[in-house]
């Protein structure tokens, strides 16, 4: 039974609770609910986390912006082609300081999702993000990015306008930014489309978010020629927040309430806010040079390989 089915069962229990009047019966069923909740979150599989990360009620970037920041003004456009709705961005305040916030926006209804293209940005979206980041650098504002995308959009327009170049340019420019970049993966961290706003000094993941080279479905169909093996792929790919921490890719995990972020959005946002504030304070004592250097070194050191000393081995090679 996957997590969504368990959640349905939980919803049923909660519905019964509402209908009951008898105090005794209420207490009993309440106990049952608590036990069920705790049980259902033990031993989550990687696939369960994929489902939670893609949950239709999952917190979106706009939800998080509204809850975590005191003020927010959205800014639009890449000044070259058009305004990409898949990326939201602007200036916000958090505990009395101004920051730039950029996020990938999913919708909750079909209508919303069509408007923001299911959070799959086009090149102009990445260029808008870059424009806002350069603006932040100019005015010495830290940058907070909120990652939640299945990936960059694969389409004729996207390719014609240089999807690859747009992503590459962001990676290139982000590595040199003189202000701290704090990235938080909210739901899906899909491939280069996610990384293009994710080159952070600190990178955090919500507990039930995922971050991977491509979707489990894509992985299964490329490697095993069978998209229906997505569940196995999710396990094999090591894409959960715990995996990424073990692999040394992310800075830390932001805890979610029992049942997943969407069941208690406020608590989740409080945790996100705490993490962001801690991170911001951490960089207060850093100079611009140190900020760039630290970020550069972080990415420079990522790789899973060995090198033997070729000179010393010459004797071995016949």
């Amino acid at each position: 039974m996957d997590i969504l089915k368990k959640e349905m069962r939980l919803n049923q229990l909660e519905a019964t609770l509402k209908e009951l009047d008898d105090v005794q019966a209420k207490a009993e069923i309440n106990e049952k609910i608590e036990a069920y909740k705790n049980n259902m979150m033990k031993k989550l599989t990687a696939w369960d986390r994929v489902l939670l990360a893609r949950h239709p009620k999952r917190l979106t970037a706009k939800d998080v912006i509204e809850c975590v920041f005191d003020e927010f003004m959205d800014l639009h456009g890449d000044r070259a082609f058009e305004d990409d709705q898949a990326i939201v961005g602007g200036i916000a305040t958090i505990e009395g300081r101004a920051v730039t916030v950029i996020g990938q926006q999913k919708g909750k209804t079909t209508e919303e999702n069509i408007a923001c293209n299911f959070a799959m940005p086009h090149p102009e979206g990445y260029r808008k993000a870059l424009r806002l980041m350069k603006q932040a650098e100019k005015f010495n504002r830290p940058i907070i990015t909120l990652i939640d995308t299945p990936g960059a959009f694969p389409g004729i327009g996207a390719e014609s306008r240089g999807q690859g170049e747009a992503i590459a340019r962001n990676l290139y420019e982000m590595s040199g930014l003189k202000v701290p970049v704090i990235a938080v993966v909210l739901g899906e961290g899909g491939s280069g489309g996610a990384l293009a706003i994710g080159v952070g000094n600190h990178v955090y993941m919500l507990e039930n978010s995922i971050y991977s080279i491509l979707s489990p479905e894509g992985y299964a169909s490329i490697l095993w020629k069978d998209a229906s093996k997505a569940k196995d792929a999710a396990e094999a790919m090591k894409l959960t927040s715990y995996d990424l921490r073990e692999q040394g890719i992310i800075t830390g995990i932001i805890k979610e309430p029992i049942g997943g972020a969407h069941r208690h959005p406020k608590n989740t946002c409080l945790n996100i806010k705490d993490t962001i504030m801690r991170s911001l304070k951490h960089f207060d004592s850093y100079s611009a040079f140190e900020i760039t250097k630290e970020r550069y070194n972080t990415y420079r050191s990522i790789g899973f390989l060995q090198r033997f000393n070729y000179e010393n081995l010459k004797g071995v090679i016949k």
């Binding site: 960059a152 959009f153 694969p154 389409g155 004729i156 996207a158 390719e159 014609s160 306008r161 240089g162 999807q163 690859g164 170049e165 992503i167 590459a168 340019r169 990676l171 290139y172 420019e173 982000m174 590595s175 040199g176 491939s191 280069g192 990384l195 293009a196 080159v199 971050y211 991977s212 080279i213 491509l214 992985y219 490329i222 490697l223 094999a236 790919m237 090591k238 894409l239 990424l244 921490r245 073990e246 692999q247 040394g248 890719i249 550069y296 990415y299 420079r300 990522i302 790789g303 899973f304 390989l305 060995q306 090198r307 033997f308 000393n309 070729y310 081995l313 071995v316 090679i317 016949k318």
Partner: protein, 295 residues
Amino acid sequence: MKSDLLKQAFDKQKAFKKHAISYRKKPLESTKTPDVPKGLYEQCDACKKTFMSEDIVNNRFVCPACHHHFRLRAVDRLSLMVDSHSFIEKGLGYITLDPLFIDGYESKIADYKKRTGLDEAYIYGYAQIKGLPLVIGVMDSYFMMGSMGSVVGEKVTKSIEYAMMKKLPLVMFIASGGARMQEGIYSLMQMAKTSGALKKFNDQGLLFISVLTHPTTGGVTASFASLGDIILAEPKALIGFAGPRVIKQTIKQDLPEGFQRSEFLLEKGMVDKVVDRHHMRDTIHQLLRFHQKEL
């Protein structure tokens, strides 16, 4: 945490000793055969005409009839591009590990090593073109579609750093299917690593020429391949971020004729020039010359 993983993967790497011994016994040499099966005769993929292998090789691996550019092995590319005996390979001795413990990955790598004589899908080193020094890097699409895992990412970064140290121009020949799925998130992060290194390289005022050849797609297009000061492309090469099949599936439409080919990218303003293989060496030499302090 990561070091535990490394240790596990390394212990698993039974073939380590064998690696060290079998590693690059033979010096790099041109295979002198185009991509299709070895034999006296070759068929062109594009026009289906048959030619003597020798004729194709002598025509710089270009079809004499229809001008189709055959895929090139890294060593053949080098032999076409740089002055003979000028290439000194750098960055040797990397070992590809299996971070996700995927069945069959290790043996696949061993197999490609044997077949191509390379240790990974990218080689680089010092070379000269008509006497002008440069650092040249070449991807080999015969090595697992030139996909970028940790070792390719590291070697690309090393080649950028080497050029930076020597204050030399850097020329890269790209041929890659994108990121290497078998290495998961590590592959993805190589995009940030290589792009960051190029940013540093750029800040030193050095020249980077990126040459896109068939095929250039995925994570490589979305990182160092697209960051050249000057971007050249070979005729009719497939160049894009998403593959045509994925795009077709997503938008449920047929793709226009010539979509994602070099000429299309030129029209859309994504590459500087489409350069024929016969003129590539001269073009790059001219560009290197333009960037000399004294002409």
